[in-house]
């Protein structure tokens, strides 16, 4: 196997680093270094565990002290009050916060309104609740718990060496978990949730389950870290354990290092812990703290994405430009168009959707045949986008049924609908803003399409990028695309999922005439590959040119349905929507 420096050097450095740090207690350095490095490991583990949910998925938590504190108290109570051997307490210290996180997440993650700052405040409130319970029950009761009588297993020759070893193992374990998550489907899904959770769900990411998994992992690691730290601190009090500085430091370390990077929090934690210990002399304590504050402010202002992403960008700039390999264009998966069939792919019966007192859909009946292009038109507020939203699972139905290939999907989560072959685009493009064009399409192919090897998914993603005219833009972030390109990125993502049914929501709006022509050709090409298409559009030229049939919605009901020219001449349609007969 050939040596690949870009791949093998970091691995070699990691192996050497782990080996050196693992053997450090044997070097008989002054115990302070064991102790200091333990604290570095402690903060690395804690901040990295925080970033699994908050950095990767963007669910900003201020409640890490709760999970960490539960771990501390689980170990303290079991070992000091019930004489459970210290090491045996650590799995419990991890399990209790993980279960609590699952319990909280099972409620909170179902509610769309509890995102952003509300989630942060809620997790902060959890900390106060847990602290109050611990303080006012025999768990602590206010007197604190002394750990000095708990025997520390002699893993290393000295007690500080043993604590160091435990901290090191947790740190390496946490980083390994973070690496694994960041490079897995789970990580990809969490990054998508971070950028746009609703779109991630629509692309097939099981957002609820992924958030729950990340939350449990994050809390479990924090609990285990707390268990070891209880032994290090030796005397636990509620005020010292559940203090606000824990989440604040954790957030700061992650942000400074780069919270979307699996390794960023580790760099931030090492940097800040070292900085805090650089100014410990009695004469400079206050000046030192102020200086630390200034350094952190400057770092945040100059490196808003964190040290690791900034370093990556810097290295990328320094790397000599290499000729890009030719874009791989694989053959379309379905190469030939299927004739328009009679089989009904999508069946909508009595579909109703209410928002409080507003009846957005009032009993829509509609069949869409396999291979058909159905144009969905109607005045503003007629329910077109709502129908797209209930078909794609963004909203659950208030009444009626929707089936795909005979399977009911009216109350199925959006990600499950996506996996049944329904893909959609958005009127205003909603790409994952922190992912490149290629990663956007890979994500859609990974979660929306059938299971495939990563290499095959990548090849297909490159194919659809070329198919939609975005070749050469693979490594560009969505912010670097114009509107036309962003619309086509929407199409590439939808196509990468190999949908049976493609829902296009005003994909032509905002395009100039040449771009519209290009888009019409593209939609035809998509249909030629066998997809069934329902598209919402106001541009009548496109509707007439593309549609096999047109459905007109009005006031949440199906108003007219038929061949394009027949519907467009229908006086009732002219009256409510067009204002003049179109294509007469």
């Amino acid at each position: 196997m050939a040596v690949n420096p870009a791949r093998d050097l970091p691995r070699l450095a990691a192996v050497i680093g782990i080996g050196v740090f693992a053997l450090l207690p044997m070097a008989k350095l002054p115990a302070f270094y064991d102790s200091f490095l333990y604290l570095v490991f402690f903060w690395i583990s804690l901040s990295t565990s925080w970033t699994l949910l908050s950095g990767f998925a963007g669910y900003f938590s201020l409640g890490h002290a709760a999970f960490f504190g539960i771990g501390m108290y689980a170990t303290a109570v079991l070992s000091a009050k019930f004489d459970v051997p210290f090491l045996l307490t650590l799995p419990v210290a991890a399990a209790i916060p993980a279960l609590l996180a699952v319990g909280i997440g099972a409620v909170v993650f179902r509610l769309r309104r509890l995102r952003g700052e509300l989630f942060a405040l809620l997790t902060l409130a959890v900390t106060f609740v847990i602290a109050t319970i611990v303080l006012n029950t025999p768990i602590d009761g206010g007197g604190g718990i002394v750990m000095s009588a708990v025997p520390l297993p002699a893993i290393m020759p000295t007690p500080t060496g043993s604590i160091y070893a435990l901290g090191f193992v947790l740190c390496v374990g946490t980083l390994a978990i973070a690496w694994k998550v960041a490079h897995s489907r789970l990580g990809m899904g969490l990054f998508a949730i971070h950028d746009d959770e609703d779109v991630a769900e629509a692309k097939g990411v099981p957002t609820f389950r992924y958030k729950l998994s990340a939350f449990a992992l994050s809390a479990g690691i924090a609990g285990a870290v707390g268990g070891v730290h209880a032994m290090y601190v030796g005397f636990l009090t509620v005020s010292g354990t559940f203090e606000l500085t824990v989440p604040l430091y954790v957030v700061l370390m992650s942000v400074i290092g780069g919270s979307r990077s699996w390794f960023g929090p580790a760099i931030g934690a090492a940097f800040i812990t070292t900085l805090l210990y650089a100014f410990i002399s009695g004469g400079e304590a206050m000046i030192g703290r102020a200086l630390v504050g200034v350094i952190l402010i400057v770092a945040i202002l100059w490196l808003p994405d964190g040290l690791v992403p900034a370093l990556k960008k810097w290295l990328a700039r320094r790397r000599p430009a290499i000729a890009k390999p030719a874009i791989v264009h694989v053959a379309p998966v379905v190469a030939t168009a299927r004739p328009l069939g009679e089989r009904v792919l999508l069946q909508v019966r009595g579909a109703a959707k209410r928002f409080g007192g507003l009846q957005a859909l009032a009993g829509v009946d509609l069949d869409v045949r396999e291979g058909e292009i159905l144009g969905l038109v109607g005045p503003n507020g007629s329910g077109k986008t709502t129908l797209i939203n209930v078909i794609s699972g963004f909203y659950p139905l208030s009444g009626g049924t929707i089936t795909i290939d005979g399977a009911e999907i009216g109350h199925v989560p959006a990600h499950a609908i996506a996996r049944r072959g329904v893909a959609r685009t958005y009127q205003i493009p909603r790409p994952f803003v922190n992912m490149t064009v290629l990663d956007n399409v890979i994500l859609a192919a990974t979660f929306g399409g059938p299971p495939r090897r990563a290499a095959d998914i990548r090849d297909e993603a490159l194919h659809w990028i070329g198919f939609t005219g975005l070749a050469g833009k693979e490594d560009v972030l969505p912010a670097g695309l114009n509107l036309h390109e962003r619309k086509f990125l929407e199409l590439a993502r939808a196509l990468a999922a190999k949908p049976k049914l493609l829902l296009l929501d005003e994909v032509l709006s905002g395009l100039n005439p040449a771009e519209v022509d290009n888009a019409i050709r593209l939609v035809r090409a998509i249909r030629a590959q066998g997809a069934t298409i329902v598209f919402v559009e106001h541009l009548m030229r496109a509707v007439i040119e593309l549609s096999d049939r047109i459905a007109v919605l009005n006031e949440g009901k199906l108003f007219a349905l038929g061949a394009p020219r027949d519907v467009m001449r229908d006086p009732r349609v002219v009256s409510i929507y067009l204002g003049k007969a179109y294509a007469a």
């Binding site: 000095s148 290090y232 005397f235 009090t237 703290r289």
Partner: protein, 407 residues
């Protein structure tokens, strides 16, 4: 055996007192200036973080004492080099920094940090390296299980038993001794420890505890607690308070038009409580005050005056020396006596000397041969009279012309 030990103790007491008196009273001109390689004494204080307001008092007292001792003969004729680090009010930092002091900075001796949690964190390190650690602020003596850890404040081994009885003795002298009381306490370990002791001892002596309430440390809203106190209307209110909690509680009681009949506060902020309109006749714990008869103790007046000057220079709001400052002075006095008495910087010898001898401190003569290396309890009661704290009990320590006043 007991008699022999008694004689031995008496000799130790006399030797210690004589030595201390000579050292403190002798004119500096007669002493040799310390010379040679400095003796490094390391310590941490919470110079930043939530304990920083108190640590600044300790820092002033420490620096003052280092100058004092160096102005005499230092330690064994060598000057002290004080290595002070900031533990940021965190026990984990205290632990790692004591490891730094001992294993990297190679200090000869250590002094304890402030507050129970950092003390316990540092004590584990001291124990691993066999260092003598003198501390002044661990209010739960039974937690001091390390053989070479010594208290610089005379709590006694069971302050939860002894001190409540001092208070009850004082109250018993009132024309109408209290028959009922309410115990309120912050859920702060040392305050809660004392509150539970107060409740038990009061009940043993026939005082009915109408209400025992715990509140979270740092609580700011005492409205509901005040209402329950008013409803109970006890003869005596005991509050295990810290800092400004006492002021806030008394203010809440005033808003309910209720003035407690007699009230005691454990660890309040001394200045604000004395100056508060609600603080008149408040009782409080103390060990020494800058007043007679304490000012007659060797060197204390000089130290109290010097502290006042330094505290004013540091812009402290309350410049009189209090229990915190005195605790740190006592730490240094014990260390100085231990090193010079043992004639060595060897921790084992210093610890052995301290266990056998008394040391004269700002708190009077202290011994360290009891449980948890504690000696006699020496808690006193002070009272706010005319916006000033005055020791009122036991009578022999009361300031001249001052008496305990019942409400």
């Amino acid at each position: 055996m007991d008699e022999r030990m008694g004689a031995f103790r008496r000799r130790g007491v006399l030797a210690g007192m004589a030595g201390g008196a000579v050292v403190l009273a002798a004119p500096s001109i007669l002493r040799a200036a310390p010379s040679g390689k400095p003796v490094k004494v390391g310590a941490t204080l919470s110079l930043t973080g939530f304990l920083a307001q108190t640590a600044v008092v300790h820092k002033i007292a420490s620096e003052m004492m280092v100058e004092e001792i160096n102005g005499r003969n230092g330690l064994l004729g060598r000057p002290i080099e004080y290595v002070l680090l900031d533990d940021q009010s965190k026990p984990e930092a205290a632990r790692s920094l004591y490891e730094k002091l001992i294993t990297v900075d190679k200090v000869d001796l250590i002094q304890g940090p402030y507050a129970t949690a950092p003390i316990l964190a540092a004590m584990g390190v001291a124990q691993r390296y066999g260092k003598v650690m003198i501390q002044s602020s661990m209010g739960i003596p039974k937690l001091q299980t390390y053989d070479r850890a010594f208290p610089a404040t005379p709590f006694g081994p069971e302050p939860n038993v002894t001190y409540p009885n001092v208070i009850l003795d004082a109250l018993a002298t009132f024309p109408t001794p209290p028959k009922t009381m309410v115990v309120l306490t912050s859920k702060f370990p040392s305050a809660q420890f004392m509150a539970q002791g107060m409740k038990e001892q009061a009940e043993k002596r026939g005082v009915k505890v109408l209400l025992y309430l715990e509140y979270e440390s740092g609580n700011r809203d005492f409205g509901a607690i005040a209402a329950r106190v008013k409803e109970a209307n006890p003869d005596f209110l005991w509050v295990g308070s810290l800092g400004l909690e006492s002021n806030l509680l008394l203010e809440s009681l005033r808003k309910l038009d209720y003035t407690p009949k007699n009230h005691f506060h454990l660890y309040p902020a001394p200045g604000p409580l004395a100056l508060s309109p609600d603080g008149d006749r408040a009782l409080c714990s103390t060990f020494v005050e800058p007043d007679e008869p304490f000012l007659s103790r060797p060197g204390f007046k000089h130290l109290a005056d010097e502290f006042k000057v330094r505290a004013a220079k540091a812009n402290l709001p309350y410049t009189s020396i209090d229990a915190q400052g005195c605790g740190m002075i006592s730490e240094w006095q014990i260390l100085e006596a231990g090193v010079n008495g043992a004639g060595s910087l060897d921790d084992e010898k210093i610890a052995a000397w301290l266990k056998k001898n008394r040391v004269t401190t700002v708190y009077g003569s202290m011994r360290f041969d009891g449980p948890f290396n504690h000696g006699d309890a020496a808690q006193l009661i002070k009272q706010v009279q005319n916006k000033d704290w005055k020791v009122v009990w036991p009578k022999e320590f009361a300031a001249p012309g001052v008496k305990l006043i019942a409400s």
